[in-house]
């Protein structure tokens, strides 16, 4: 009887991460585009977002989307943090990179010599992912502060009062959108990463010979 003792390599992205990733695409998409529609009701900067990008068609509709999708974002965020800490995902993949590793990987990235191994994060990736996780946490905090500026007055004062918190909320949105653009461009350069975020592509060995 033939025995199958082939060593199985674990997926580059566990199923939990793959599911959460696509939940976020939807939830953050809803938050950003309804947010643009809300911003357009009273722009605090001398520009508006193009009307066709808005979600909800008018302020009331956009707020309904924003205050609905926020639950999806919050719940999936909590699930991710719980998973990240308990599964060892944070410890294994998101150790804070040293400045030397960042400058080394950034240099190889800019000179197109940085290899990409499915299932492993180089220093630049770590920095970007840690950054966007921090930005999302700050975005939830500023969002909650301008949602409940009286009941959560202490949180609001952390961001310098209502108008200031509103501007920080807008600024972080731009950072998250900027991350998303870089992220999508990199996926376009390495299309197999898109496949690995949908089906359980096995992780690649860390060092290829």
């Amino acid at each position: 009887m033939p025995l199958h003792h082939q060593p199985t390599r674990s997926a580059a992205h566990p199923v939990m991460i793959r599911v959460l990733h696509w939940v976020w695409v939807y939830a953050i998409g809803c938050m950003v585009f309804s947010g643009w529609q809300i911003y357009n009701a009273s722009p605090s900067l001398p520009f508006s977002f193009p009307r066709w990008t808005g979600l909800g068609r008018w302020l009331g509709g956009a707020l309904a989307w924003h205050f609905s999708a926020m639950w999806l974002l919050a719940l999936s965020g909590i699930a991710y943090l719980a998973y990240g800490f308990t599964s060892g995902h944070f410890r294994r993949d998101f150790g804070i990179p040293t400045p030397r590793a960042v400058s080394r990987d950034l240099w190889s990235a800019l000179t197109f010599r940085l290899g990409h191994r499915l299932g492993h994060y180089n220093a630049v990736q770590r920095l970007l992912y840690l950054g966007v996780i921090g930005a999302l946490l700050a975005q939830v905090a500023t969002g909650v502060a301008i949602w409940k500026p009286v009941q959560l007055g202490a949180l609001l004062s952390l961001f310098g009062g209502y108008p200031s918190a509103r501007n920080i909320h807008l600024t972080i949105m731009f950072l998250i959108v900027a991350f998303t653009i870089v992220h999508v461009v990199l996926v376009a350069i390495f299309p197999r990463t898109l496949v690995s975020m949908i089906v359980g592509t096995p992780a690649e060995p860390k060092d290829r010979t």
Partner: protein, 252 residues
């Protein structure tokens, strides 16, 4: 003699390319509309679609969360007189030139679950205890401004008219066609007042003469101007904007 005027005949074949182009453009716009993440661009609370129904039920859930977060002891931040925004921005569901003057023989009517239903004159309201506040008025659109109002605490007024303080809703009807309603807990909050003065002067027409609600624990559209009647009720009253889709609680 002239024959009947012939209308130019346009055959489908003649405009087919143009039609197709228009069609393609419309399709492209739908596809591009990033709001259409799942072809949901049409969902804006104005239809009876399943998505709109889901959004509305989540808003009702949000209202419960907001009511649970609300604390009667938690006060809105107050500011020094120097922080008052000048000039103060006018806002209503109509432009400023349509502001209505106080009707002849105006009285503030009270209705619903109250034991004393005599209408109130301004003089009678001024005889009640007065409080002043300098607070931030935050509009649902995102802008905000700091103003100074004084008047009768709504709590004192409701007690005075023998209102049933266990009734869940207090509703406000205005003589400019506006209406809104709030929960009883927020109505009894110490900073919820029937404002008679704005910035040290009796309310001018554009600021809600002769009496308006001022409630700094809720979004601006809840601070109804030009009041005509107050009703304490057990039946959900809705309101001008609330009926169109703004979330009812709208607490800050």
């Amino acid at each position: 003699m002239n024959g009947p005027r012939r209308l130019p005949v346009v055959k489908f074949q003649d405009i087919k390319p143009e039609l197709r182009q228009l069609q393609r453009r419309a399709f492209l716009r739908t596809a591009l509309s990033l709001g259409g993440l799942a072809l949901l661009t049409g969902c804006d609370l104005s239809t009876n679609s399943g998505v709109d129904a889901a959004l509305k039920s989540i808003l009702r859930f949000d209202d419960k969360v907001q009511a649970a977060l609300f604390s009667r002891r938690c006060l809105a931040q107050t500011y020094p007189p120097s922080a008052v925004t000048r000039p103060f921005r006018f806002n209503a569901f109509y432009p400023e030139w349509q502001v209505r003057g106080v009707p002849e023989g105006w009285r503030l009517e009270v209705a619903g679950s109250v034991s004393e239903k005599t209408p109130w004159t301004i003089a009678a309201l001024r005889n009640l205890p007065q409080v002043e506040q300098i607070t931030r008025h935050i509009c649902i659109e995102g802008w905000s401004q700091i103003g100074r109002w004084s008047g009768v605490p709504l709590r004192a007024f409701l007690q005075r008219i023998g209102a049933d303080l266990r009734a869940p809703f207090v509703s406000f009807r205005c003589f400019d066609g506006y209406s809104t309603s709030i929960d009883m807990a927020s109505a009894l909050h110490p900073q919820t007042i029937l404002a008679l003065d704005f910035d040290g002067q009796p309310l001018a027409a554009e600021w809600g003469a002769p009496v308006r609600l001022r409630i700094p624990t809720k979004l601006g559209f809840k601070s109804a101007k030009n009041l005509q009647a107050i009703e304490v009720t057990r039946i959900f009253p809705g309101g001008f904007w609330e009926n169109q889709g703004y979330d009812w609680f709208s607490g800050l």
